[in-house]
């Protein structure tokens, strides 16, 4: 009986430990501490571990070290959270074509290139950077670590004490306790995400950027996920439901409360779309290439359409041609040839578009026109890495080799 009573107490304790902190109130920006230092053995330990991880990350070949791009992303963070706060963070732009960013306890912020490709203005980027900064400012990682440790401690003791009185009832109670504790830990994590979201919108409300962009970003992401699923013939994803072990709240919920919490009188502010496009321009080609080669037709097509809202450029036409040519169905090749031709019409010196056009035409049985396009590719880029092989595909040139 004592054991069962203990287990029941554990359940109650676990419930309290994991109780959510979510409230509907918009968060206020917490007071800022200059050069915060870790306190206590847990936090000091975490920071040391993260310092070591950061030293490895700093050497990684996946990190983009371009000074201008890094300075720009840092400026957006500083514009969002304030120039005093942003000094606490080191930003690493990681080449990975997925929508993500992350933060460690010691202030190491990873920003994935897939995120930079997807957000459309400074306010949207600021939303994500502010969210990650919110995790840092409110010491979420330490909180999560402590919650996990307490939860698993309770489970370990319950297992020991439960084994003193092994009966079906005790085993059942233990299983319930396990579900309850793990469920609460996941919910605790999701509540931290909600809190970070509320902080992000609080930073944006205080900044000169347009906070309404935050919910717009989630709407765009949901539309992309839908396009991706449609392209693969999958069911429409559910945006209002989550799994038991989900780490983040449902996207639709996030879009909803972010829209609610944005200051209504800030809706007319500039979101920095033009500045963002300008800063990203030198990188767009590489980020698009990384995305298109992921073999996710629906999402890539959605992103291209979104990027082309301000007008189709030769670069976007070329990327679309590549996307269709790589999927490679006969109808795709016809479309691809058209997109490459559109790119060439805007920029006749676009070598890669001529290559793509040539290959697409060859594959649709138009050898003469295809070889002419490949010849133009070689003329424009005689030292291309595949020049010798392409040359062999043009009869006269091949014979000359």
């Amino acid at each position: 009986m004592i054991t069962r009573a203990f287990l029941a107490a554990c359940v109650a304790l676990a419930w309290l430990a994991g109780a959510g902190q979510a409230t509907a109130q918009p968060a206020l920006v917490p007071p800022y501490t200059v050069a915060y230092q870790p306190v206590g053995v847990d936090e000091i330990g975490w920071w040391r571990e993260m310092d070591e991880e950061e030293a490895v990350l700093a050497q990684s070949d996946l990190v983009i070290r371009d000074e201008t791009l890094n300075a720009y992303v840092r400026k957006v963070l500083c514009d969002t959270v304030g120039s005093d706060r942003c000094n606490a963070v080191r930003i690493y732009i990681v080449r990975a074509p997925f929508f993500n960013a992350s933060m460690t306890a010691n202030g190491t912020m990873r920003v994935f290139t897939g995120l930079l490709l997807r957000v459309q203005n400074e306010a949207e980027l600021g939303t994500v950077l502010g969210h990650e900064f919110g995790h840092f400012e409110n010491r979420h990682i330490l909180g999560k670590f402590k919650a996990r440790r307490s939860g698993t401690d309770v489970l370990a003791w319950a297992a020991v004490l439960g084994s003193l009185a092994p009966s079906y009832d005790v085993v059942r109670t233990y299983r319930n306790l396990e579900f309850s504790i793990y469920g609460n830990l996941y919910r605790y994590g999701r509540d931290q995400e909600r809190e970070a979201d509320r902080l992000a919108i609080a930073y944006l409300n205080n900044s000169a950027l347009r906070p309404q962009a935050a919910s717009q970003m989630w709407d765009n992401l949901m539309a992309e996920a839908e396009a991706s699923a449609r392209g693969r013939g999958l069911k429409k994803p559910k945006f209002d439901a989550i799994a038991f072990a989900a780490s983040h709240p449902p996207n639709a919920e996030r879009a909803g409360y972010l829209a609610e919490l944005a200051r209504p009188d800030a809706a007319t502010r500039d979101d920095g779309a033009e500045r963002y496009r300008e800063a990203l321009a030198p990188w767009l080609g590489m980020f698009l290439d990384d995305q298109i080669k992921l073999n996710d037709f629906g999402a890539s097509e959605y992103l291209l359409q979104a990027l082309a809202q301000g007008g189709w450029t030769a670069q976007l036409h070329h990327a679309r041609g590549e996307l269709y040519r790589m999927r490679g169905a006969p109808r795709d090749l016809v479309n691809a040839a058209q997109f490459y031709a559109d790119a060439i019409a805007l920029d006749p010196a676009h070598a890669e578009a001529n290559r793509g056009l040539g290959l697409s035409l060859l594959k649709t049985g138009q050898a003469g026109a295809g070889q002419a396009a490949l010849q133009r590719y070689l003329d424009l880029k005689p030292d291309a890495s595949d020049a010798r092989l392409i040359r062999m595909m043009i009869p006269d040139q091949g014979a000359a080799q």
């Binding site: 990681v94 080449r95 992921l294 060859l362 594959k363 595909m393």
Partner: protein, 200 residues
């Protein structure tokens, strides 16, 4: 105490079961100078040194060889990939489809096929073709290409591959190893292995 021998038996059984996967993954030695068929196809190679054939297969028509372990030097054979087939087995046909080799695939597109496959399959964030040259493979006109990529383990690797399309099927052999030391150390052995590849 009466139950002890049964407990012991159960214990042994658990140990035997736990060790079973290792037995299933018994790697095979590929001895120097002995011609051997690859991936149950007519493609044969005659290694110039001893290699280990790993029992893990990425797909029906593939085979993995290594000297020190697949993360350090990895030779992958893609033997007789037929049109409509991806290079390696898809983890999920619906959620993570891989690009396929098709009848229309041109030789110059084969490096791109490997790149897009690895980008999805290995989740390589960074992948760069460094050279694509015409060259012979299996006695036919083919393509030789080199590339660099960074994997999930963030270790920069270099790769070299040869491919040819023979009777509508794709044959390819690739070598991938960390840029530091292992690529240079193993590339000559790989080239000799690729040179020794024959189709009847």
């Amino acid at each position: 105490m009466k139950d002890a021998p049964i407990g012991l038996l159960v214990g042994w059984l658990a140990v035997a079961l736990a060790s079973a996967p290792f037995a299933a993954h018994a790697h095979k030695l590929r001895e120097r100078g002995a011609p051997v068929a690859v991936a149950d196809t007519p493609l044969t190679v005659t290694p110039s040194r001893d290699w280990n054939r790993l029992d893990v297969r990425l797909g029906k028509n593939t085979e993995h060889w290594t000297v020190d372990g697949e993360q350090l030097n990895d030779v992958t054979f893609f033997a007789a990939i037929t049109p409509g087939q991806p290079l390696v087995r898809e983890r999920s046909k619906k959620r993570e489809p891989l690009p396929r080799f098709t009848k229309a695939t041109l030789l110059v597109e084969v490096p791109e096929l490997l790149e897009t496959t690895w980008r999805t399959y290995k989740r390589s964030g960074s992948f760069q073709m460094t050279g694509i040259e015409p060259g012979r493979f299996l006695g036919a006109d083919g393509v030789h290409f080199t590339y660099e990529f960074v994997d999930q383990d963030e270790l920069p690797r270099r790769g070299e591959a040869r491919a040819a399309i023979i009777a509508g099927k794709l044959y390819m052999i690739s070598f991938e190893a960390p840029r530091l030391h292992y690529f240079a150390a193993g590339i000559e052995d790989f080239r000799k292995l690729a040179d020794s590849a024959r189709l009847p």
